[in-house]
Amino acid sequence: MATLANMTMNILELDNLTYSWPKRQQLSIDIEHFALQQGQKLFIKGPSGSGKSTLLNLLTGIIPANSGSSIKVLDQQLCEMSGARRDKFRADHIGYIFQQFNLIPYLSVIDNVLLPCRFSSSRADRVAADPKQQARKLLSKLKLSDMDILTPVSALSIGQQQRVAAARALIGSPELIIADEPSSALDHDTRSAFIELLMQECQSSGATLIFVSHDPSLESLFDRSVQLQDINLQGVTQ
C-alpha cells in the first residue's frame, strides 16, 4: 500500500484556493481543486493578467492565501505556516527561475549558484562534500565552460545567465522547480536548448517542474499542460 501511495504521491495539491489582493473585494485566484504528481513536468499557459504571478507567489508562500484555502506542497500545508516558516520551506524545497535578470550582480557565478544553500541548511547539507565542485558540475552539465564561470555575471549573455539561474534552482536538489517564463527573453534556438537542458536536469535530480509561459508553442515539450483560465474560476484579473 505504502509503495503504491508513494508512486502516485502528489507533490502539489490545491483545494478551494482563493486569494484577493488587500482592500479588494474581487477574488483574483479561485481554484477549486488541482493536483500535480511528483516528477511531472507541468506547463501552465496563461496570458498576462490571468493571475500567473499571484499563483506563483501563493505556491512559493510569499503571500498567504485567503482563509479556508488549502495549499499542500510535499504533503505540508502552507496555509498553516507562519511567514517565516513558509520562507524556510521555500528555501528548502523550491528552486525558482525568473523571467530574466536572475542573478545578483555583485556575486560571482559560483556564489550566485550557491546562494540557496546560504538560506537553506538542508540544501547546503546535500552538497556538503564540496559545494563549489557541485556547482561547477551542475554548470558544466548546463553547458557553461570554466571560462564562463569566471566571467562577471553582468558580462554573460542572457542565455548563459538563464543557465546559471537554472543551476541555482537545481543546486541541493529541491523537490520542486518553478520557472516563470524563463525563456521569454531568449531567441528560438536557445530557448529549445535551454528547456531541454532544464528538463534533463530536473529528470536526473528527480525534481518536479512547473513551467509558466504565455507561449503555446512550448506546450508540446511537457508531460502535462493546463490553461490557467481553465482551473482558475476567477478567470482574468484586471
Partner: protein, 416 residues
C-alpha cells in the same frame, strides 16, 4: 548572520566608488567632531593650567575676571594700583607662606613687561604644579637684568646677553620709549604654553627706575653701576599669595577684601578661571554644535545614497526572497550596510585624526609649548563615537524599513 554579512560586504564592494565617497564624508565629519572636541578639551585644560598652586591673587578693587585677566593673562589693565605698604603688610601675615608682587603697564615690542622679584621664579607654578624652568641663563640680579619668556626669545631672536630697550606704556609705537635705558637679557625661560612665554620680566626696582622721572642723560650710567636702594617701589599692580594652609584661604580672602586702608579684591584663581571659561562656553558650545551638524549632514548623505540605491536593488531583493530570504533578512541587509559604512567612516576619521595629530603635535609643542596628547580615545570621545555609530544604524532603519515594505509588496514579482 554570516550570509547577511557576506552579502553586505559584496554589495558594498560592488558599489565601491559611491560607498567610498560616503565613507569619506562620514570620516571627515567624524574627524571634525573629534578634532573640535580634542581642541576644546585641550584648550580648556591648558587654560585651567595657566596658573597652579596659587591660593589668592590680590589687586585693586575690581571684578574677579578682570583681575584674573590682567594679572595672569596680561589682558587689559588694572583699575588701580596697590600701595607698597599694603602689600608688605598683607604679605607679612602669619598665614602667608610666600608672595609674589607684580607690576604691569609697560611693553617691549608688543610683549608685556612685568616687574616682580626673584620669588616669582621660585614660587610661581603652572600646569600640574610645575615650576618655571630656565632654558638658559638665570634670574635677574642686577638692576638692568631681564628674564624673557620663550616666545619673546624666539620671535625677537634674543639670546642671553642681548641688549633690549623697554618702553613705557603698552603700545609698540609708544612715544615715551625709554630709549636710553638698555636692559640685558640674563635668562630665558623654557616654554610653558602660558602667558609667561610672552612676558618680559624685570625687577620691581627696574620698573621704578623706568618711571621715577629722573633725567636719563645725567643719571643713567651712574645708577647703572650703583643700582638699587634708591629705587624702592612705591606701588605694585597685584600680588599672588601662597598660604601655609588651604583652609585659611577664605579667612585671608575676607580679611583682604575688608582691608580698611585701601579697596582691594582677592580672588581664588581656580574659581575665577572657571567663571571665565563659562563665559567662553557659548563659543565652545557653538563649535561643538556645528561639528555635530556636520556629522548629521554626513549621515544624511549616506541616507540619500542608500535610498537611491534601493530602487535599482528591488530586483536583487526579489531574487533574495525567492531564494528563501525572509523580509527580516532584507531589513538586516540594509541596516548592516548603513552600519558598515558608518563604522568604516568612523575608523577612517579616527585614523585621520591621529595622523593629523602626529603631524602637527611636534610643531605645536615647539611653537606653543602645549603638548597635545595623542595617547588614546577618552571615554567622552568613545561616547561620541558610539553615538555617531548608533545614529548611522538608526538612519539605516529608514531604507531598511522601506526595503522591507517593498519586498513584502513586490514578493517575487520583479518591477523594473
Amino acid at each position: 548572520m554570516k550570509t547577511i554579512a557576506l552579502l553586505t560586504w559584496k554589495s558594498i564592494n560592488n558599489r565601491r566608488s559611491s560607498a567610498l565617497l560616503t565613507v569619506f564624508t562620514v570620516a571627515i565629519s567624524m574627524l571634525l567632531l573629534l578634532g573640535v572636541e580634542r581642541i576644546r578639551t585641550q584648550a580648556k585644560d591648558s587654560f585651567a593650567n595657566t596658573i597652579s598652586n596659587t591660593d589668592l591673587i590680590v589687586g585693586a578693587r575690581s571684578g574677579e575676571v578682570n583681575l584674573l585677566l590682567y594679572s595672569v593673562f596680561r589682558i587689559g589693565n588694572a583699575t588701580n594700583n596697590i600701595d607698597w605698604q599694603s602689600y608688605q603688610k598683607l604679605a607679612g601675615q602669619a598665614d602667608v607662606k610666600w608672595s609674589i608682587p607684580i607690576s604691569l603697564g609697560d611693553s617691549h615690542r608688543g610683549f608685556r613687561v612685568m616687574g616682580t622679584n626673584t620669588d616669582y621664579f621660585k614660587f610661581y607654578q603652572y600646569g600640574n604644579r610645575q615650576a618655571l624652568q630656565f632654558d638658559s641663563g638665570q634670574p635677574f640680579t642686577q638692576l638692568f637684568d631681564t628674564v624673557i619668556g620663550a616666545d619673546v626669545a624666539r620671535k625677537l631672536g634674543y639670546s642671553v646677553g642681548s641688549k633690549i630697550i623697554i618702553a613705557h606704556g603698552i603700545s609698540d609705537k609708544s612715544f615715551t620709549r625709554h630709549d636710553n635705558l638698555p636692559f640685558k637679557v640674563v635668562g630665558i625661560l623654557a616654554p610653558t604654553g602660558t602667558p609667561v612665554d610672552k612676558t618680559v620680566h624685570l625687577s620691581l626696582a627696574a620698573i621704578e627706575a623706568l618711571h621715577s622721572g629722573w633725567n636719563p642723560a645725567g643719571n643713567v650710567s651712574a645708577s647703572k653701576n650703583q643700582h638699587q636702594p634708591t629705587f624702592q617701589p612705591e606701588q605694585i599692580t597685584a600680588f599672588m599669595l601662597g598660604l601655609k594652609s588651604k583652609i585659611k584661604t577664605f579667612s585671608v580672602q575676607r580679611k583682604i577684601n575688608n582691608y580698611p586702608t585701601e579697596p582691594l579684591t582677592a580672588i581664588m584663581p581656580g574659581v575665577a578661571l572657571h567663571q571665565l571659561w563659562s563665559m567662553m562656553s557659548i563659543a565652545e558650545q557653538a563649535l561643538l554644535a556645528i561639528s555635530g551638524f556636520v556629522v548629521v549632514a554626513g549621515l544624511l548623505g549616506m541616507l540619500s545614497c542608500l535610498l537611491t540605491s534601493l530602487q535599482e536593488r528591488r530586483r536583487e531583493m526579489a531574487i533574495l526572497r525567492a531564494m528563501g530570504a525572509r523580509p527580516g533578512h532584507i531589513f538586516a541587509l540594509l541596516v548592516a550596510e548603513a552600519t558598515l559604512i558608518t563604522a568604516a567612516g568612523i575608523s577612517l576619521g579616527v585614523s585621520f585624526l591621529y595622523l593629523l595629530l602626529a603631524a602637527i603635535a611636534p610643531l605645536i609643542n615647539s611653537r606653543f609649548g602645549i603638548s597635545i596628547e595623542s595617547a588614546s580615545i577618552s571615554t567622552h570621545e568613545l561616547k561620541l563615537i558610539v553615538t555617531v555609530l548608533l545614529g548611522g544604524m538608526l538612519i539605516g532603519l529608514i531604507p531598511a524599513f522601506r526595503a522591507y515594505r517593498q519586498s513584502l509588496a513586490d514578493g517575487m514579482t520583479i518591477r523594473i
